[in-house]
């Protein structure tokens, strides 16, 4: 047993090193070699997946793997793999594999393909590092690394406003880093430790500790797009290449939420926070985030932008669940990490397929697109039902738990907030899916009008704008190739399957994993 554990405890290093090394080699050697790049990217995402799956049975039994490298004394790098980190890590490596598979096909024949893939792998490596880290110092380093790499990823956008958007992200990420550093310094000075795994380092509510708390909320809230700090998100998603938005919404936003969970559970301790009223403001902000995101999403006509604002609202649910400080709500919040990743991942991948296949981006022009991409739009429809929170699908489970947690804390009004947001979700998602299939088909003269406009634009040399004028009903089959289709289908299946299986594995894992906090 001892030997096994020693063998196992070296695996997390590989999980981390493989994507980083692969990212580096892709950047250096693969500019002209497409095949080598494919092999490297696929291997470097599938190896962590395999390693994590190897670790799952042991961690699930209750073994906690830890390890330390004295690289930057006195703190050093350390990792810690307990059930909660395993849950997050499984999600990250799973989505990392499928998203990179999709991205390879999506970015094919793009002139920035190579560096985009390289930085994608580096971002993934940073995210794995965040999930694996065993203390807040390591967390901080990987968090910063991930943000900087993601900034480069955003800068690959071709739109004229891409630079502004990525700079916006950079500013906010720097603010986040500085504030997080301040909080960590305070905690280290007060307690002499930053390690995870102790349920509560802080024991008194001095003003300094409160500053640290606010620092954590601001820094991690920027990453998780909490209401007044969400500014970077919509522009970044809209003007960057689509896979950057996918990776952020599925994986990177979750690092902020995960950090918040760790800060609440390990640094402050839920029992300690319950005796104070520090988290009330966060609760308010989360509620505002939910309503704000949903309301603004309603008024967007750009598909990606609508998804972006909806993502802000959805991450608001998670923060709400954490801020409620009860076990039920925290289970809901953790499960919502998975549910949202599957739901929003599906939607983004579908949006990518639509953009790739038809060139359409405006929702008002998506009428009838289901006849050209039937499978994709069915996936989108299932994902939108999931978003509304219809019973057999994932988000219903998380909403149920968060709602129950709100009631346990004596705040029934928050349940109302959740349900209003659900209704708004229905208002802005269902029409897209419905108009894709049903409704009066467009009149012939409209088609002619489009053709005229398109040829006008083409004549004026505005090739970029003609893409938006492709015909919804015209044109033929536009389904994407298999490597884009497969991830979409797998993620759609993920939206549905967990509620229907006889045992909901992730839910059980979180339930046992979160016991450590309470």
């Amino acid at each position: 047993m001892l030997l096994t554990e020693r063998c196992l405890s070296s695996l997390p290093y590989f999980i981390l090193v493989v994507p980083l090394a692969a990212g580096l080699s892709v950047y250096l050697f693969c500019r002209e070699r497409g095949f080598l790049r494919q092999v490297l990217v696929t291997l470097s995402t599938i190896i962590p997946l395999a390693l994590v799956l190897l670790l799952v049975p042991f961690i699930q039994k209750g073994i906690v793997l830890t390890g330390k490298l004295d690289l930057l004394p006195p703190l050093g790098f350390s990792y810690r793999l307990d059930r909660l980190s395993l849950y997050i890590l499984v999600l990250f490596v799973f989505f990392g594999f499928f998203v990179s598979l999709y991205t390879q096909e999506y970015m094919k024949n793009d002139n920035q393909e190579n560096s985009f893939m390289a930085f994608l792998l580096l971002v993934l490596g940073g995210c794995y590092g965040v999930a694996l880290s065993g203390d807040f110092f390591t967390f901080f380093l990987f968090f910063e690394f991930m943000s900087l790499m993601y900034f480069v990823l955003l800068a690959h956008g071709q739109h004229e406003r891409s630079t502004g958007a990525s700079l916006k992200f950079l500013f906010m990420a720097i603010i986040a880093g500085v504030v997080l550093f301040l909080a960590l310094v305070i905690i280290y000075r007060e307690t002499g430790s930053l390690a995870f795994g102790s349920s509560g380092l802080i024991t008194d509510s001095s003003a300094l500790n409160m500053i640290a708390f606010v620092g954590f909320v601001i820094a991690l809230g920027i990453k998780a797009a909490l209401f007044p700090l969400h500014l970077w998100l919509p522009d970044a998603y809209t003007y960057a290449p689509l896979p950057a938005a996918v990776i952020s919404s599925v994986i990177m936003l979750k690092t902020g939420v995960y950090g918040l969970m760790r800060a609440f559970g390990d640094v402050f301790g839920f029992a300690f926070l319950k005796t104070l009223d520090w988290s009330q403001a966060l609760l308010m902000l989360a509620a505002v985030t939910i309503l704000f995101g949903s309301l603004v999403a309603l008024s967007q006509d750009d598909l990606i932008r609508r998804l972006a604002y909806s993502g802000i609202a959805q991450v608001g649910y998670i923060i709400l669940g954490i801020a409620l400080l009860s076990e039920t709500a925290l289970i809901g919040a953790s499960y919502h990490i998975l549910a949202h990743a599957f739901m929003k991942g599906t939607m983004f991948l579908c949006a990518g397929s639509i953009i790739k296949g038809t060139g359409l981006r405006k929702i008002s022009r998506l009428r009838g697109v289901g006849y050209r991409l039937p499978v994709t739009m069915i996936c989108f429809f299932i994902a939108s039902l999931t978003a509304v929170g219809i019973p057999p699908f994932n988000i219903f489970i998380s909403k149920w738990f968060i709602g129950m947690g709100a009631l346990e804390s004596g705040l029934p009004l928050l349940v109302l907030v959740l349900l209003i947001s659900s209704f708004l979700n229905a208002c802005y998602y269902l029409p897209i899916a419905i108009n894709a299939f049903l409704g009066k088909k467009r009149q012939l003269h409209h088609l002619f009008q489009d053709v005229q406009e398109a040829s006008l634009y083409a004549a004026a040399g505005l090739a970029g704008q003609t893409a938006d004028l492709h015909l919804g009903f015209g044109g033929g089959w536009a389904e994407p190739p298999l490597r884009m289709m497969l991830p979409t289908l797998v993620l759609t299946l993920g939206c549905v399957i967990f509620g229907l299986l006889s045992s909901n594995w992730p839910l059980e894992l979180i339930k046992s994993g979160l016991k450590a906090f309470f």
Binding site: L24, Y27, L28, F29, L69, D70, L71, G164, K168, F171, P228, L231, P234, D235, F292, L295, V296, A297, L298, S299, Q300, Y309, L385, V388, G389, I390, P391, P392, F396, I397, W400, F401, G403, M404, L407, E408, P412, V415, L416, L419, S422, F423, L424, A426, C427, L430, I434, L438, G439, K440, G499, L500, L501, S502, S503, N504, L507
Partner: protein, 762 residues
């Protein structure tokens, strides 16, 4: 209804799963062979009906159930009592008839496979609602039904259908969420959402009781078409294909009534006599009045409609009002409520037959004439003899003519209302009068419908009309048979079928026994129905003679135009404009404006500082002439110091220079005279020697450098091969540092060295 106490039976799950799974098979088969698809659909609904019958027989002994406790982390509770089994039986039977009818009706419609797929999916959801033992599982199937029936409503895909579908969908979703909120609150406070009396656990909740009850009532009320939430119903039912309208009106809106029945008469009641019933009374009173308003308003509007399916849709709303009123009476009367309970359940049974039947019969006419306006139809009795006859029977049923089924249930409902008046509030006297008047209106509009379609003069452009096929005759005949059977033996149906359904409910035993001995054929009841019929027929004759049927009701009467549409439009406008403003303000404006402002502050501060310092130090004297800028002062001071020093030095050194001058002259003469004479030759020799040595040395050096340079150049290029281009040997291409992004390479290699050093330190 708890899973522990009921015997295990997998039958409910099978009944739900059969249509659910076969819907996909039917949808798939539709692409291959249309005929087999129709056969399979009829077969599936038939099997479901048979299984429902087996379940009903089984449940009439004892409730059975099935429980999947891992479902969605909460558990799916498929425990069925006799009420649920009865509704399942009724629904599956009507569904079977409608599917048979679809065979001929749908042959002229588009997208048939989609229709059949969603038809069966909706059946699964609808049956699931009746087959569940707690509100959570009920909600799950309720949502499935709401969503799966949406494609049925918008089947035609015209603009009208899409509009109707929109209000259907969004009101459905809103209702579902209201229901969910109620369920979450109930579960959060009580820890259970089972279908059983729970009121005694809620005494401590205060105002939350009313909130939960209100939310559940709104959630189910939207589906049931309760005023003023009925607005989707008159739009959605007419645009759907006729079999789907039949199911929507006949069965699906009953899920709302079923839910209200469960909530008002079961969940919000205490488990016995020893508890306070005041809450039940209040809610019952409210529901009675909601029912009265619904029935009278809808019946009045139905009088002035000219679209035949719209008349039937308003009629459905009106009949739902009857059922709601019965449920209200059941709750209001408390332990003596069986009369209200049985009245509403009986009416649900009857309404399912006559309304589903009428929708299908009207659909049969529409399928051959493609007309829905009453003014464009008439005199179709020859082509549709069976349809006309069965329509007349169904009309007698809805009008409550003695001998047909509606008479029995309406009489029971009337009894319930009168009893409620005797027990309670004075205002119910008016309710009873409105009830009678509404029944008269029902007679009036149904007579108008029958006369308009089948009697009278046929329009000149309606010549060749196809005749009704055999399958439709059988379906309509079956419906008419049931209507007459129930109408002739109401006593037996009440005692054997309806009353046993109240087993899970809390009722006084004497009241139940009293109800089994009720006589439907008393003079009083017959007289009141004759009066009603008389008023109705008279009203019909009066209105048709005066031509008042065709007047258009003013727009301000429409609740939708008056309240819903402005509110929704205002809300939508508010939401989107708020969203837009927020987005623009926060996203585009604030961030960059803040950055710009900060930048401005920084640069302005810098500028000001610079100017201040400039004016302080650099520029000339201040205009006042009093103070000099510091730098100027320093400069002046410095210059003065220099001048003074100069003068001082002049005084000391210039005057003592004479001895130095003499020495200088001596040296000059030595240099210019002596050295020039003797040193010239020596210098010449030395320079020649130096020159020759230097040139030899330089030649050697040049030669050496030339040789070594060519050798080292050859060696270098042999090793590095830097003159290879990028298309050369791939190996050199890889190791050639010129092909790297060089700055990055340096950075990484430095990092790598640091990392290696660090690792060695460990």
């Amino acid at each position: 209804m708890t899973p522990l106490t009921t015997p295990h039976s997998i039958l409910p799950l099978v009944i739900v799963l059969i249509p659910l799974l076969f819907s996909m098979a039917v949808g798939y088969l539709g692409k291959k062979a249309e005929h087999y698809r129709n056969v399979l659909a009829v077969f599936v609904t038939g099997i479901t009906f048979l299984l429902a019958m087996i379940l009903y027989l089984k449940v009439s002994v004892q409730p059975v159930g099935f429980y999947i406790d891992t479902f969605l982390g909460f558990g799916l509770n498929l425990c069925v009592d006799s009420l649920g089994a009865f509704f399942t039986l009724l629904s599956s039977f009507i569904w079977f008839l409608a599917t048979v009818f679809s065979w001929t009706y749908m042959s002229h419609e588009q997208a048939r496979s989609r229709y059949y797929f969603f038809l069966l999916l909706t059946e699964a959801g609808c049956l699931g609602v009746f087959l569940t033992g707690d509100l959570f599982s009920l909600f799950f199937f309720f949502e499935l039904m709401s969503l799966a029936s949406y494609p049925l409503v918008v089947h035609a895909e015209t603009k009208e259908a899409m509009d109707a579908g929109q209000s259907y969908l969004f009101l459905g979703v809103a209702g579902g969420l209201s229901l969910l909120l109620g369920i979450i609150l109930l579960n959060g406070f009580l820890g259970t959402v089972a279908l059983q009396p729970l009121l005694h656990k809620m005494y401590g909740l205060g105002a939350y009781r009313y909130l939960i009850a209100g939310l559940l009532l709104v959630g189910f009320g939207i589906k049931a078409g309760m005023a003023p939430l009925h607005i989707w119903l008159p739009k959605a039912h007419p645009v759907a294909p006729s079999p789907a309208s039949a199911l929507l009106s006949g069965i699906m809106i009953k899920t709302g009534a079923y839910g209200i029945l469960r909530v008002a008469a079961l969940i919000f009641t205490p488990p016995g006599e020893g508890f306070s019933w005041s809450f039940v009374n209040t809610s019952g009173f409210l529901i009675i009045w909601l029912g009265i308003v619904t029935m009278s308003m809808a019946a009045f509007i139905a009088l002035f409609q000219s679209n035949i399916k719209r008349i039937l849709a308003y009629s459905s709303v009106s009949q739902m009002g009857y059922m709601l009123m019965g449920i209200g009476c059941a709750a209001y009367l408390g332990l003596d409520g069986p009369v209200g309970f049985s009245g509403s359940v009986f009416h649900i049974l009857n309404h399912a037959f006559f309304k589903a039947g009428m929708f299908m019969m009207v659909g049969a006419v529409y399928a051959r004439t493609h007309r829905l306006q009453l003014t464009e139809l008439g005199g179709l009795k020859e082509e549709f003899p069976v349809t006309a006859f069965t329509f007349l029977i169904a009309a007698c049923g809805i009008a409550g003519v003695p001998g047909f089924n509606g008479y029995a249930s309406k009489t029971l409902l009337h009894h319930a209302l009168v009893e409620a008046f005797h027990h309670g509030h004075v205002s119910l006297w008016y309710a009873e009068k409105i009830f009678v008047l509404t029944s008269a209106c029902t007679v009036c509009y149904i007579l108008k419908l029958y006369r308009g379609i089948f009697l009278g003069k046929r329009p000149y452009d309606l010549e060749a009309v196809a005749k009704e096929p055999l399958s439709e005759k059988i379906v309509f005949g079956a419906i008419a048979f049931f209507i007459v059977c129930i109408g002739l033996f109401p006593q037996a149906v009440l005692a054997k079928v309806v009353l046993p359904l109240s087993r899970g409910f809390i009722y006084d035993h004497h009241a139940l026994v009293h109800l089994t001995e009720i006589n439907f054929w008393t003079v009083k009841d017959l007289l009141s129905i004759v009066i009603t019929l008389g008023i109705g027929v008279g009203l019909n004759l009066f209105l048709s003679k005066r031509g008042l049927f065709n007047i258009k009701l003013p727009g301000w009467l429409s609740i939708e135009l008056l309240i819903f549409r402005p509110v929704i439009r205002a809300l939508f406008f508010a939401f989107t404009s708020i969203g837009d403003c927020l987005e623009k303000a926060i996203n585009n404006l604030v961030f960059w404006q803040v950055i710009r402002a900060l930048l401005f502050v920084f640069t302005a501060t810098g500028d000001c500082l610079e100017r201040a310092i400039n004016s302080l130090y650099m520029k000339g004297p201040a205009p006042s002439g009093k103070g000099k800028p510091v730098l100027q002062m320093l400069f002046n001071l410095f210059i003065k110091c220099g001048e003074t020093t100069n003068k001082l030095l002049d005084g000391v050194f210039v005057k003592g220079y004479r001895p130095f001058l003499a020495l200088s002259k001596a040296l000059d003469s030595f240099d210019n005279v002596t050295i020039q004479r003797w040193g010239g030759k020596t210098a010449y020799l030395g320079s020649v020697t130096r020159e020759s040595i230097y040139s030899t040395w330089m030649k050697g050096i040049t030669l050496y450098l030339k040789r070594t340079h060519s050798v080292s150049r050859k060696a270098f290029f042999a090793l590095i091969k830097a003159d290879y281009d990028t298309k050369g040997d791939p190996f050199y291409q890889m190791i050639n540092p010129l092909n790297y992004n060089f700055d990055l390479f340096v950075v990484w290699s430095v990092l790598l060295i640091i990392l290696i050093l660090g690792l060695q330190l460990i």
